[in-house]
């Protein structure tokens, strides 16, 4: 596999205006410099799916914006599909697709299929090519009934399916996804994750995905790059992270009994309050199913919630050096 993305010593700082008096702030404003991305280097092979994660303000969106040509870096070198984003943006645009979870590229009052047609002109696709491509994408995404409805009538999950179709229309070699599952329910998240993975498998598309959801990286990606305070903290295959931290699940049980004792190997108590128990389960030692079966024997369960550990906790652990 050849190289698809190359990032070397990428640096980006922002000037932030200092607060000052009415007249002084107007006539002679003062600025402080904040280093958002500080010497990040990595590379992605063709067809690789990589999660780019980090806490809020870590510099992940800034990095992804530099890679997609939206922001210009202070220094460093980037090559996306053979193009430097800030000098060859237009040529590079044909090779990349972008999805910004909190921003839509679809026309709100029109059916998504109209946006697809407009984008086909943006990417200079021939009519026959466009028609063939849209048919195969709509079939693959099982979206025939949703692309004909005005976007304002779509649910968030349906809208995101259309966003991804729009970003894949011109067969990009590299797909940048910034928080693609933000705000979605569990079922929609699963659908979106499967579709991204399927599209990448079929076309060999390289995927770089930022997310706060451990589920996104666990179910879509092969590799994870962790960034914090603008610096690269870890660059690992996802299986290493899985054996380290994602193996943990958080189970919250609500029961009729005031208290139960769930003492099992691989189960750690987080919090016990009357009629509620919160435990951490190490899935490499015991399955979630086994824990739930045992809990059901001990009590009359009224509600069960199974969650991934929060991204912030994982990053904190990684940053503490336990995984490096």
């Amino acid at each position: 596999m050849s190289q698809s993305v190359l990032v070397e010593n990428l640096q980006k700082s922002f000037k932030v205006r200092k607060k000052s008096g009415f007249l002084k702030g107007f006539l002679a404003p003062e600025y402080t410099t904040v280093q958002a991305v500080d010497g990040v280097s990595f590379s992605l092979k063709e067809g690789e799916r990589v999660a780019f994660v980090g806490p809020n303000g870590a510099g992940k969106s800034t990095t992804i914006k530099m890679l997609s040509g939206i922001l210009h870096p202070d220094s460093g070198y980037v090559e996306i599909g053979g193009f430097v984003p800030w000098t060859e943006r237009k040529a590079m645009a044909y090779k990349i697709g972008t999805v910004f979870g909190q921003r839509s590229q679809l026309w709100y009052h029109l059916p998504a299929q109209d946006t697809f047609e407009l984008l086909s002109y943006a990417y200079d696709m021939s009519r026959s090519d466009f028609e063939g491509r849209i048919k195969s994408l709509v079939d693959a995404f099982d979206a025939r009934h949703i692309v004909a409805k005005p976007v304002r009538q779509l649910s968030l999950g349906e809208r995101m399916r259309c966003e991804i179709i729009a970003s894949l229309l011109h067969r990009p070699k590299i797909l940048f996804l910034d928080e693609p599952t933000v705000g979605l329910d569990v079922v929609s998240k699963g659908v979106i994750r499967d579709l991204i993975k399927k599209a990448s498998d079929e076309d060999g598309t390289t995927v770089l995905l930022t997310s706060h959801d451990t589920g996104d990286m666990e179910r879509v990606c092969d590799r994870v790059i962790v960034i914090d305070h603008g610096r690269l903290v870890a660059d690992k295959p996802i299986r290493d992270l899985r054996s380290g931290y994602i193996r943990e699940k958080i189970i919250t049980l609500a029961m009729k009994e005031e208290i139960i004792s769930l003492t099992m190997k691989g189960v750690r108590l987080i919090e016990a309050t009357p009629h509620q128990l919160r435990v951490s389960v190490d899935t490499s030692q015991i399955s979630v199913e086994a824990v739930l079966q045992h809990a059901m024997k001990l009590s009359s369960l009224q509600d069960i919630t199974v969650e991934d550990p929060p991204m912030e906790d994982i990053i904190k652990e990684i940053y503490a050096g336990s995984l490096l």
Binding site: S68, H109, D114, Y121
Partner: protein
Amino acid sequence: MAEFVSNIRFFLALVRMTFKSATGQRSAMLIRAIFSVTTHLIYIPVWYVVFSVAPDLGGWRLEHALYAYGLAIACWGFVSLFAFGLRMIPEQIDHGELDSYLTLPKPVLLSAAFSSSKNTGLGELLFGICLLAFCCVKYDFSWIPMPFFLVMGSVVFASGILFFATLGFWLKQFIGSAEEIYFNFNLMASRPAPIFTGALKVVALTLVPVSLMSHVPIDFVVHHHWQTLVFAIVGVASYSLLSVSFFYLGLRFYESGNRFGIKG
């Protein structure tokens, strides 16, 4: 050349889409069109009152004021209908909407300007054209240059909007102030040309070139001075170029990221 053709095809597709989007809600469009025509009609008695006090202002009479108003309002409608995105540039900047346009292989300005339409524009455009036609019939003004003046005026107005909207790259939440500037820009275009003398004339021909939008066309309609028209065409081209260059200067600031700082 291939790139130019490709941009034109994209532009035409964009205009088709904006028009489709704007005309999607037909009843709302009709109500707004009727409403806007009614409210613009109010301006006619306003000028009637002014010219009842002073029937001749340095050679300008009621018919000239009506022609200028017709031009100004038709240009406002034309820009609102086809390039409403220009007016919304400060908001697009605030909301980071230029990001998606920057990832497309087409000029950012094209997408930003023509990606939305305001359906009140149709009523304004039609009202402006009707007022111009009324002037041609009632006061015997020539019909022939009217389409040309409409295009020229719309280019000046669009460039003016672009110039001031671009300030939104540096000024946050600028949309409210920008709308006020556009409105007053348009309002000034309907003021009698003879009041623009000295420094005011310089302003009206450069920074806020309302003279190129309405005063020069009326001067041509009355006096048929070709030199003035040629001068106006050069002025329009220069001002458009200046506005587009200013926009791309602002875009460079946007690309530096200092407009937003750190978000993630």
